[in-house]
Amino acid sequence: MGFLDIDNTTKSYGAVEVLHNVDISIEEGEFLVLVGPSGCGKSTLLNMIAGLEEISSGEIRIKDQVMNGVHPSKRNIAMVFQSYALYPNMKVGQNITFGLEMHGTPKPEREKAMREVANLLQIEQLLDRKPGALSGGQRQRVAMGRALVRDPDVFLFDEPLSNLDAKLRVDMRTEIKKLHQKLGTTIVYVTHDQIEAMTLSTRIAVMNGGYVQQLGTPQDIYDTPANIFVATFMGSPAMNVVPARVAVENGKPMARVALHDGTETALPFSQDNMADWDGKDILLGIRPETITDEDAADRKSSNIAHMTNRIVVTEPAGSDTFVTMTMGGKDVIARMRSDAEVHPGADFTFAVNMEKAVAFDPATEARIAP
């Protein structure tokens, strides 16, 4: 039994099931991120934890208490909304203490709690203003203050950073992470931004089409994605997925991949069990940062393969230069050092770290190796 258990939970509207048998259990102090494209059901799941949507079947438990049918205010949770949902007619101070007031906390205690939170978030000077007079970042802080002041068991965040500009978003991300580390609270956080998911979470649930595709630590998710959806959704630029055929050469399973001119190159697998797929088609997943020039190849890797392919486009991005080529009829992106000598139209020899490569079954799109 965890701190928050989502036990075989489904959600249907009429005959349409939109969430299918979700099973997630997290411990106290964990930071769970629900990530996925819009419409994947992540917000619905969050709302079900909050009690804003009914649970069609299964159970949600917080601290072993079944929450099904319990009113949101009785679940000891707090929520930060995408739009912040600050009450426009109340001052910041009233916004923060409204929840305490509704729960019957006496005024002096409310004032005290409000001061503490305001101090923590450095918004003391805003307490007498109306939300309309605040900037986006300030509103964000107030919204967090409103959640914090309640000292809830679980914090729920519904895409809290998506309305901020890029710079502020990064700052607030760090802020949230700091708060989590400082306070050790349990957080469920919904976002569609995989970087937020990776940077903030202790665990990630990647969702799509109403299913949890994969639940795991950020590293698990990144290195061993359960399927092509997870593989391409997490990471930027996305993982390259190219058609390949397995061929055992000299007892070693190799991935044969077509290059720009139709000639094939053989990239050796690190996993011997790929020999089982001899002669069959697979999809080969290679992350952009594992395709480099020779000098930048991972020295710890035991399986660096080389291939020469033609560069189509180069995109210098300051810290890195992205190179696009064609493999298996698809665009493949490589992430090179910024000082790499790459020119569009030229042939170039790439080093591929096959230790990190992932193979998928083209029929089920599930990972078969590693």
Partner: protein
Amino acid sequence: MAQAANADFKTRLQTWLPKLVLSPSLAMVLIFVYGFIAFSVYLSFTDSRLLPSFGWVGWENYSKLWRLSHWETSITNMGIFALLYIGICTVLGLSLAIFLDQKIRAEGFIRTVYLYPMALSFIVTGTAWKWFLDPGIGLENVMQSWGWTSFEFDWIKNRDFAIYTVVLAAVWQTSGFVMAMFLAGLRGIDNEILKAAQMDGASNWNLYRRIIIPQLRPAFLSAFVILSHLAIKTFDLVIALTGGGPGRATELPATFMYSYTFSRNQMGIGAASATIMLMTIAAIMIPYLYAELREKK
């Protein structure tokens, strides 16, 4: 344990409260609107005269109704009236709103002047209107006394034109309100779109025709609902202005129904005319409501 049960009850109450809150209104509407409509439809098949009575006569009231030339007049009048009233109010309201939206000085004052007729009932303004339209003492007389001796304005006395004076007074009352609705719509349009269109070289005329007016669709729809409901209910106006005359030339279904139900003690025929009116309203409004509400879902 007791506390848990209590909390449970509270939560359950919270889930029922919305429906509980809605239910008095719903009950009122069901009884006082739909119940009464059903009652009225039932009466149209009975021999009710002075008071409701329950002797079943089948379609007799309907066949009598359609034999009355008077009923045909009121239906025709309704068609003319509704068409002109809704059309003129919409065009006039939109035009005035556009004019008033050009950074006009004293806009607030002018707006109030345009809007105030909506505040007055025809019990209040009926006599003034009657005077104004009366050739003997009204506009015609005034114009002639000012030297325009050939001026003629005797519509209210003319069987073929009297209905247009009813339209005139009705337009006077409501067009300002429609203007306010369109003005509100105009004020809600994003200014950046207008700037963009101007950079594209659109003239003012094209700006309104192609960009602004199409964006006023919600205002058009609201105006249509309000105007059509007012048109159907038009009653006081006719009573105050013409009393249905000259002859029966300005009789409308609402006045027809009232006169058969209450003045003529032929409640059955009155109810039959009410039923036909309601069905007409339903035929127009239900598709509209259906489209509107489904869209918003």
